[in-house]
């Protein structure tokens, strides 16, 4: 098994996380920052999934004889990810809602200009 094969998911996950962080760090537009958050979330979720993922693993159901528990895909991370997605969506929704209100108040979404609270 090559490196890429066994770590492809991890590389992807960390790639997404880093992209997300980069977007949050360098972008000024609130919407883009929120997109960055979303990418970060996705990366984390992908990471969680890949923790429990087994290439060519079976579903974690003893549906027939002879299925070894070692070859099953771990179901717990999937449950976790479901929860995490829900939470992520909630945050996203709240963030977008706030973004709309912020735009109404400030007339801009540039976070460099929204600096009334500082020091």
């Amino acid at each position: 098994m090559s490196f890429l094969e066994s770590y492809a998911y991890y590389v992807g996950a960390f790639g997404l996380i880093l992209i997300g962080l980069l977007v949050i760090l360098v972008k000024r537009n609130l919407i883009k920052i929120i997109i960055g958050l979303s990418i970060l979330d996705t990366g984390v979720n992908l990471f969680l999934i890949s923790v429990g993922y087994l290439a060519s693993g079976t579903a974690p159901i003893f549906s027939r004889e002879g299925i070894d528990s070692g070859s099953m895909v771990d179901p717990v991370p999937q449950a976790l990810v479901l929860t995490a997605i829900v939470i992520g969506v909630a945050v996203l929704a709240l963030a977008l809602g706030l973004a709309v209100r912020l735009y109404q108040n400030y007339g801009t979404l540039d976070m460099r200009k929204i600096k009334e609270l500082k020091w």
Binding site: L37, L40, V44, L48, V51, A95, L98, R101
Partner: protein
């Protein structure tokens, strides 16, 4: 025997009842958080004597612990639950009068959710469960910060949200890594297996989790959201954020370090971090002219002090840290509540607008003064015994590095004293401009402030019961083996 599940389940249920009740009567909806908190307080207090002897491990779904999500109601958990209920009760009473505009029913809903999240965090014995409750806490607080819908509230909320979301991403990643290594999410189980793996590989999740929780706990470089959020939120929310939310974050962090990871090598770093947080918080607070922002920075300083004490990891110091946490909750809540009505009357958050408040709002000013004195650590208020314990713990280490750090910590206290005394003087002795008529805060708000003030003085004079409770809580936090044993027995 009451079950600790009730502490979470009942408020959660009541939370979703709030919109329904408010259809019937808006006044009744206001009472829901009060009822929930009262209930929680009663439950926590009835649980208290029992858990001091033997922690209650509540197994959800009947599985034995490693396989189920369990609640662990030890002295720490119940103490925190009681504290959350108590602070929640006081602030809920206050909010009945204070929150008059906006979607009131949703305020109470979110407020209850926040409390549920906090209670869940302190009671749970499962790492992912902790994350979930943590998110409940965070999301409801994002929303509550923006409750007023004004410019600064929205801005603070967005910033809080972005940082919080990054933090929870890191936390979730840390949890994922933990799961990847141990294949379990149960804290006790992880703790049990901690010795069996390479310590370096454990360190990465530890760092991620500390950073993730540190955002909510507001330790030094991660706390940029706090002054914004605390100063822009409605005062009742500032009080609960300052009094509960960051403390809960700190609890989660300490629980992770002490119980789950047993990471003693990082403690020294945390001690320094605590002292640094304290000093920076106080320095920033000193330069503020906005009273709520000053209080917010002071919260950072207090968190630093608590972290300093907890990270020293002796039974005295942890007890002192927990005591300080309690005293900070009471004092800071009182300060925010008092400041809330003063700001409401004067229409400005500037300290200069509080001049002459001592005559205009005597009782509220008195409450503010008591809170300030307690926070500085003057006897006979509650801040004194906690500070006494911390100083004692630091000196009991008998190492010069701790004595020097203690010197810095006390320097922080001195700065804190300087700015609080300045505000107290402004309230009482500076001549206010404009109206001088005497006015009082609404009766319920005064009642809530009175509760806090009375507690501050009572515990300050007679700290023994609280000292006993925090003493056994400290034992629980420090004794990993006992924790593992009582969960996995």
């Amino acid at each position: 025997m009451v079950s600790p599940v009730l502490l979470i389940a009942v408020p959660l249920g009541l939370a979703f009842l709030v919109p329904l009740i408010s259809l019937v009567s808006r006044r009744a909806a206001m009472l829901v958080p009060v009822v929930a908190c009262l209930f929680n307080l009663v439950v926590a207090i009835t649980l208290m004597p029992g858990v001091l002897d033997q922690p209650v491990v509540e197994k959800i779904g009947g599985f034995p612990p490693p396989f189920c999500i369990n609640l662990y109601a030890g002295p720490v958990g119940v103490l925190f639950a009681a504290l959350i209920a108590l602070a929640g009760l006081g602030i809920a009473v206050y909010a009945m009068a204070y929150i008059r505009t906006g979607p009131v029913d949703r305020y109470h809903l979110l407020y209850l959710l926040l409390l549920v999240g906090a209670t869940g965090v302190v009671l749970t014995g499962d790492v992912f469960n902790l994350f979930v409750f943590f998110e409940i806490l965070c999301i409801s607080s994002y929303a509550l910060v923006a409750y007023m819908g004004n410019k600064s509230g929205l801005e603070a909320s967005v910033k809080y949200l972005i940082q919080g979301a990054v933090g929870s991403g890191l936390l979730l990643m840390g949890i994922g890594l933990l799961y990847g290594q141990f294949g379990t999410l149960n804290m006790a189980d992880i703790a049990n297996r901690m010795g069996s793996v390479n310590q370096v590989s454990v360190f990465v999740p530890l760092a991620l989790i500390i950073s993730g929780l540190g955002v909510e706990a507001a330790i030094f470089p991660l706390n940029a959201w706090l002054p914004d959020a605390h100063s822009s939120a409605p005062s009742s929310i500032s009080a609960i954020l300052s009094g509960i939310a960051i403390e809960v974050g700190l609890y989660a962090m300490v629980r992770m370090i002490f119980t789950v990871f047993g990471a003693t090598s990082i403690l020294m770093f945390m001690v320094f971090l605590g002292a640094l947080t304290l000093l920076l918080g106080e320095l920033c607070a000193f330069a503020q002219s906005n009273v709520k922002r000053m209080l917010a920075y002071s919260s950072i300083g207090q968190i630093g002090l608590i972290l300093f004490a907890l990270a020293m990891a002796t039974s005295y110091s942890v007890a002192g840290g927990l005591f300080q946490l309690l005293s900070h909750t009471l004092s800071k809540a009182l300060l925010f509540l008092a400041a809330g009505y003063m700001i409401y009357r004067s229409g400005s958050m500037e300290i200069s607008s509080l001049h002459g408040m001592g005559k205009r709002m005597p009782l509220t000013s008195l409450a503010f003064t008591i809170g300030a004195f307690s926070l500085v650590g003057l006897p006979p208020f509650v801040g004194f015994p906690s500070k006494f314990l911390i100083v004692r713990a630091a000196l009991a280490r008998q190492q010069s590095i701790f004595t020097i750090l203690l010197g810095f910590v006390l320097l922080g206290t001195l700065i804190e004293g300087a700015y609080f005394f300045r505000v107290v003087q402004a309230i009482y002795f500076k001549k206010g401009s404009g109206e001088t008529g005497r006015s009082y805060a609404p009766a319920v708000a005064l009642v809530s402030m009175f509760i806090f003030a009375a507690l501050i003085i009572f515990v300050g004079i007679y700290p023994q019961p609280v000292a006993d409770a925090v003493g056994s809580a400290a034992t629980e936090l420090l004794d990993r083996a006992e924790y593992v044993r009582s969960v996995l027995q």
